[in-house]
């Protein structure tokens, strides 16, 4: 006979303001199997936990139910408390009276009744809980970092410096990400390449980091501490061991007119190329789509001129399998293609560009060597209009969210322009100035006060060309909504920061969740900002939401710290929620009939077979057997077994049936 203790939490007033907790405790006390019940203001507080421990000892409780917040919040807390009082932690469960009851209903009789129902339901389950013992699994102390922007670089270096192995996978020919494209960076205006390049080199030289560029994740299996990753190394068409990075091939390649991705289409590159001079690794790849040889079988000039004979036209993609214990996802973001805002004329007028393109124009290593020259005719623009929130905060055609970085980089752009073109005029159309970082507001004020950047509060409705000028039709909402028309030489759109195009697919490969905009979801917006809902997979940088470099780097170090914590243990204990096939005395041995429906359903290939032999060694039965190391506890096998021979600890048939019965029979 169970002796269950039920503890009803007020959560300050979060629960007790809508649920009559005293009545819930009373009702719980009357349930069969309940030995003790009470209510308390804050169950998770020290005195709250002490109360539970005390009652376990005093009343000899065999089960504990804490009716409070979501088990996703405090189940570990209370299980630990029980355990310290000598009760098996899996005899403790939580009933969710806060998120699923008091916060979603108004105060009423029905709400209290629902709370009572929820507690009774769980009593039904806990009656059948069995002590379980956590499973120990070994940890592979190698981390996989996906994405080599500043986030991935920082995480890799931190993990490597903690003494663990790192494999860094980058899809492009070089690491560096968006930061390598930037000119100078707010709020300090230091040169982006100057602070980034040393770290890129450090990655390449670190003994604990293995760098795989031009590579992507193909498949991820396994679980925390024991993942198996398959990486596709795309064919670079060169032998990296032989190539010295001399660059002869690049200068001789006849295909020279390919728009350079790195220069956002503002410059050109060859078919065999390194994306930019400071690339890491500084060895070229052949872009098969544009190479003459791959297209029509003629050329091979690079092969002829290469002094080391490093060109390999017959190279094929290679799949590499890695055992890793943790994954850091740092695949970054992208900027929105603004052509659907046809009123802004992007794609139609050459001098309407994006903020990222402006970075290339302002960058000393860019196509104009840092001089701000407009794309159409190379002239230095005398008047530039910047359009903030282009595609952000626009539910109708863009994204409803604020992209967070553009207010700051637009102020930076206007400032850089004013510093370079002293007689120039820059105007920024904005809705709000969002500059809530350390020294950020001061930065924006400087642009306005010292550099005379003109801020006009209002959106732009249309941009069109007339007599070589871009006519920008905007409005000044602070001047009684006065229409404003500016004749500009160049227009820069602060386009929304959006998730990478491949983000959704990648998330599905790894089974992590993502939000409505395809940014990856953190496990908790405040308290678990670098974790995902999948144990062992962490997030860093702009793949989780738009963010600037300081924030990206903090999160990257945070993710690295989480990995280091994980790797500080040799073994992990896992929740013992695993499936088992029943066993009974001979001659039956098990009710399992060996149909292996369960095995076909198991997504983790965790079910194998076991041969039952008699004393003579003759096989008398073939039954299913679960490998608890592989089983993740989804329970699919249980639903598939017609003979009810396989069951899952923690969510057994007995428990679940009893739970349903208790719910429906008050």
């Amino acid at each position: 006979m169970s002796k269950i203790g039920v503890f009803i939490c007020h959560c300050g007033e979060n629960i007790s303001a809508t649920v009559d907790v005293v009545r819930v405790a009373e009702a719980a006390g009357k349930l069969e199997g309940v030995e003790f019940s009470t209510d308390y203001k804050y169950m998770c507080s020290d005195p709250g936990q002490t109360l539970i421990k005390q009652m376990i000892k005093e009343k000899g409780l065999t089960g504990v139910i804490v009716a409070a917040c979501s088990p996703r919040m405090h189940e570990p807390t209370f299980r630990k408390a029980c355990s310290s009082a000598g009760l098996n932690p899996y005899m403790c469960e939580m009933s969710n009276l806060r998120e699923h009851c008091s916060w979603v209903h108004d105060k009423s009789e029905a709400t209290t009744q629902k709370a009572i129902d929820l507690v009774r339901t769980l009593v039904g389950k806990v009656k059948y809980n069995k002590p379980l013992y956590s499973i120990k699994v070994p940890v592979t102390k190698t981390a996989l970092v996906i994405g080599g922007g500043i986030a991935g670089i920082q995480s890799s270096l931190d993990i490597a410096n903690a003494g663990h192995q790192v494999v860094l996978v980058e899809k492009d020919p070089s690491i560096g990400g968006h930061m390598s494209q930037l000119s100078e960076t707010f709020p300090t205006l230091d040169c982006s390449q100057c602070i980034l390049t040393p770290r890129m080199v450090e990655v390449a030289q670190h003994p604990n980091i293995k760098l795989l560029t031009y590579a992507e994740l193909e498949k991820l299996e396994g679980f925390i501490g024991n993942f198996k990753a398959t990486i596709r190394k795309k064919a670079k068409s060169i032998d990296e061991d032989l190539c010295t990075g001399c660059g002869t091939c690049i200068t001789k390649c006849p295909t020279k007119k390919i728009p350079s991705e790195f220069n956002t289409g503002l410059g050109k590159r060859t078919a065999i190329y390194v994306p930019f001079p400071q690339a890491v690794p500084n060895k070229p790849v052949i872009d098969k789509e544009n190479c003459l040889y791959y297209k029509n079988g003629k050329c091979k000039i690079c092969e002829k001129v290469c002094p080391t004979g490093a060109i390999r036209f017959d190279q094929e993609d290679e799949l590499v399998e890695l055992e890793v214990g943790a994954v850091v996802v740092a695949t970054g973001f992208d900027v929105m293609e603004p052509s659907k805002f046809s009123e802004y004329g992007y794609g139609k007028y050459k001098d309407v560009i994006t903020g990222l393109q402006f970075e290339r124009l302002a960058s000393a290593s860019g196509p104009t060597l840092g001089e701000i020259r407009r794309p159409s005719d190379g002239k230095i623009p005398e008047k530039i209009v910047f359009v903030a929130c282009a595609g952000s905060r626009d539910p109708s055609k863009g994204k409803p969210y604020c992209s967070k970085i553009c207010c700051m980089y637009t102020a930076k752009h206007a400032m850089l322009y004013q510093h370079k073109v002293h007689h120039g005029e820059s105007t920024i159309f904005y809705m709000d100035i969002r500059s809530a970082g350390k020294n950020y507001e001061e930065f924006v004020r400087r642009a306005i006060v010292e550099d005379d950047v003109k801020y006009i509060r209002g959106r732009v409705s249309k941009v069109y060309e007339e007599n070589g000028k871009l006519i920008v039709k905007g409005v000044d909402t602070l001047l009684n909504a006065k229409p404003v028309e500016i004749q500009a030489d160049m227009v820069v759109l602060a386009t929304a920061a959006v998730a990478n195009s491949g983000a959704e697919e990648l998330a599905q490969k790894m089974h992590i969740s993502y939000d409505a905009y395809n940014f990856f979801s953190e496990a908790h917006p405040k308290l678990k900002p670098v974790e995902t809902n999948t144990a062992g997979i962490f997030l860093a940088g702009a793949c989780q939401a738009p963010k600037d470099i300081p924030e990206t780097v903090s999160q990257a170090s945070g993710a690295a710290a989480k990995v280091a914590i994980l790797f500080s243990q040799d073994e992990l204990s896992r929740e013992p929620v695993v499936a088992v096939v029943n066993r009974s005395a001979p001659p039956l041995y098990s009710t399992c009939v060996g149909c292996f429906m369960c095995a076909t359903a198991c997504p983790y290939q965790a079910i194998g077979e076991e041969l039952i032999t008699n004393r003579k060694g003759e096989v008398i039965k073939r039954v299913a057997k679960v490998n608890p190391g592989l089983c993740q506890g989804c329970g699919t096998c249980v639903a598939f077994c017609r003979s009810k021979s396989i069951d899952i600890d923690g969510y057994s048939n007995e428990q679940m049936y009893s739970e349903v019965m208790a719910l429906l029979n008050d």
Binding site: D117, Q508, H511, S521, A601, Y604, C634, T636, Y651
Partner: protein, 148 residues
């Protein structure tokens, strides 16, 4: 006269819908009290006999909700659940249970508002269908099944 208050059981997975319902709470979005959640590791775990059992014990309606296709925490559990649902519909028909009494949906951890929607539309729908009274048939079937 008292309005009919349907009893509805929600079978949800731990990773998506349970978390989604948590978000409904954190966002303080209100919904009807009639639905009570039972937590499963995955919709793949949900045995349809258990759904029948619920009708047998007096449920008027059921919600089964898990991760979106391709987003299953366990790779493919929800996919199995969907496949079995097709067979299950046939069984419901045979037992004379209106399929509208079971609402099948996907609610992710980020869809707090959607969970409130699912609950409210289900409650309205079941209210219109009225109480479910034919337990005996289901109970009979379950008994037969148990004896096999």
């Amino acid at each position: 006269m008292n309005e009919f208050e349907p009893k509805i059981v929600a079978f949800v997975c731990n990773w998506c819908t349970y978390a989604g319902a948590d978000l409904t709470g954190t966002s303080r979005i209100k919904y009807a009290q009639n639905v009570k959640i039972i937590r499963f590791p995955c919709t793949g775990r949900i045995d349809f006999m258990l759904l029948l059992k619920s009708f047998g014990e007096g449920a008027d309606g059921i919600i089964v909700s898990g991760c979106h296709p391709n987003d299953c925490h366990y790779t493919s559990g929800n996919f199995h659940a969907r496949r079995r649902w097709i067979m299950f519909r046939g069984l419901l028909d045979m037992l004379g249970i209106d399929v509208r009494r079971i609402q099948y949906s996907w609610v992710s951890a980020a869809e707090g508002a959607k969970w409130a929607d699912v609950v409210n539309t289900t409650v309205t729908a079941i209210r219109e269908l009225g109480p479910y009274t034919d337990y005996a048939k289901v109970a009979g079937y379950l008994e037969k099944e148990a004896n096999v």
